[in-house]
């Protein structure tokens, strides 16, 4: 165990964890002190918690090869090995509970993310959905072209449940028949605009990069939580874009309310479902509040936070 934390992998696991903790602390501090409310800005800051710990140790070690030596550790601001080898009880030191946290987080990632994907690929769906193109609404077509300038198709799923999602590979939006029946034209526009916003934004390289980094740092609970937070901000960003395109925040709030009421009536089985329901409620409240507070000089603040994280983490080994 002692030698594990001296290896390259052991050092990376420890430093990525500690560096993400420091990034999390400074990002949350910046958001709180400067009252940063805009989802786009908050998301950019959350990305720091995912991107910086992934790159920090390799870059620091490249710039200062002596960073892994005892001389450097002795002068460091925080030397993790000093803590990891504190004996709790005879024969067991703090490195064991630390390793348990990483293993538990990895297990969570495996069961929540990887196994469902494998299950979806390996087992045939319980029921086949019948899908047909939706062409009867010319105003939606105009909205799609105005907002995306791309050929996005809408399909109807023959299903009574409330379902709406988009497919980034073949730009298309899927809406269930049950949902379509209960939406007014304005509400349909609002929900389609929200999905279009996802289609446009999901193609951005930074989102793909953050997702890849998050998967590589699967063992890191801080990264796991902040990725979830970034996803929540993504929903709010798409809400804002939908409101910008359709001109009505209330209509989108009413549409989301339909989902929220359905979710609330359902017996909640998993934390994920509870979290989704809570997020919808949060989004509805935000759309209705529509505060116009704007963060002044975001980029200097962003650079200050990123620079501080980079500086402090250099001295955490």
């Amino acid at each position: 165990m002692e030698f594990f934390y001296s290896t390259l992998i052991g050092r990376f696991l420890t430093q990525a964890f500690l560096h993400s903790m420091m990034a999390c602390l400074l990002v949350e501090l910046g958001i709180y002190l400067w009252q940063i409310h805009e989802p786009l800005y908050r998301q950019r800051l959350y990305f720091l918690v995912i991107i910086l710990p992934m790159l920090s140790m390799p870059i620091y070690d490249l710039l200062t090869p002596a960073r892994q030596t005892i001389q450097f550790r002795l002068g460091a601001l925080f030397d993790s090995t000093q803590w990891l080898y504190i004996r709790i009880i005879d024969g067991i030191d703090l490195s064991l509970p630390f390793l348990m946290i990483l293993i538990l987080t990895s297990g969570l990632f495996l069961f929540q993310e990887i196994l469902p994907i494998i299950r979806n690929i390996s087992t045939p769906p319980e029921k086949e959905f019948s899908i047909e193109p939706y062409t009867s609404n010319p105003s939606l077509k105009t909205l799609l072209q105005k907002a995306t300038r791309r050929d996005v198709k809408i399909f109807i799923i023959k299903e009574e449940d409330y379902i709406v999602f988009s497919n980034i590979i073949n730009p298309s939006i899927f809406i269930s028949e049950g949902l379509l029946k209960r939406l007014s034209e304005a509400q349909l526009k609002a929900i389609v605009a929200h999905e279009m916003a996802h289609l446009l934004r999901n193609a951005r390289p930074v989102l793909i990069l953050v997702y890849i980094f998050r998967c590589i740092l699967f063992f890191n609970p801080v990264v796991l939580i902040h990725f979830r937070k970034a996803v929540e901000e993504e929903e709010k960003i798409c809400d804002d874009l939908a409101v910008e395109w359709t001109g009505s925040a209330e209509t989108l709030a009413e549409t989301l309310e339909k989902f929220y009421l359905v979710e609330e009536q359902r017996s909640i089985k998993q934390i994920q479902e509870f979290s989704d329901t809570f997020l919808i409620k949060n989004r509805i409240q935000r759309l209705r509040r529509r505060d116009d507070k704007r963060t002044l000089l975001f980029w200097p603040k962003f650079i200050l936070i990123a620079g501080t994280i980079t500086f402090i983490n250099y001295w955490i080994v």
Partner: protein, 173 residues
């Protein structure tokens, strides 16, 4: 004005975080005295960590005694680094390191800038590797080998013959 105050609050909070980190880093020393730290003498290392250092009986004439720097740890693995300066104050002049891990063998104290020659050499019946080269334009050399489960390394900013005299006189204290 409010923005300036908030920025000052952020800077102050960062300073507090740095101080807390600094203090946190000192806490483990109170739990166990076996982590990496600097020692004032080899006696101190022997008493605190129960490490028996490999000590040479021969020292070059221009070496200054006692050692200028002694770093040692028992955890995560046993390691002792003793660094000497010359009587005229050149530092580092000679360094002796014994470690249970090979990881520490490459660092800035004992690094030869430009290796001009590398040869295998028997040291007390073990296979050693001698490197000769220059450090800051001065001739320097180092030798490393394994003995009793330790990775041992001796570095000197001097002619290799001095290094070999030191190494051949070394034994466990």
């Amino acid at each position: 004005m409010r923005e300036i105050l908030r920025t000052i609050a952020f800077v102050l909070a960062v300073l507090v975080i740095i101080m807390v980190l600094y203090l946190l880093n000192r806490i483990p020393g109170t739990f166990h005295g076996e982590g990496l730290r600097q020692y004032s003498s080899l006696e101190d290392v022997r008493e605190s960590l129960r490490i028996r250092p490999f000590i040479p009986r021969y020292f070059p004439e221009n070496l200054s005694w006692p050692p200028e720097r002694i770093l040692a740890q028992k955890v995560p693995y046993e390691m002792l680094l003793v660094v000497f300066k010359t009587k005229s104050g050149i530092f580092p002049y000679m360094a002796i390191r014994e470690s249970r891990s090979v990881k520490d063998l490459n660092d800035n104290i004992t690094t030869i800038e430009k290796v001009t020659e590398e040869v295998e050499l028997p040291i007390n019946g073990k296979r050693g590797i001698l490197q000769v080269g220059t450090c800051d334009g001065i001739p320097c050399s180092r030798i490393f080998w394994q003995e009793e489960g330790y990775h041992i390394e001796v570095f000197i900013k001097d002619h290799p013959s001095e290094l070999l005299k030191v190494v051949r006189s070394m034994s466990k204290d």
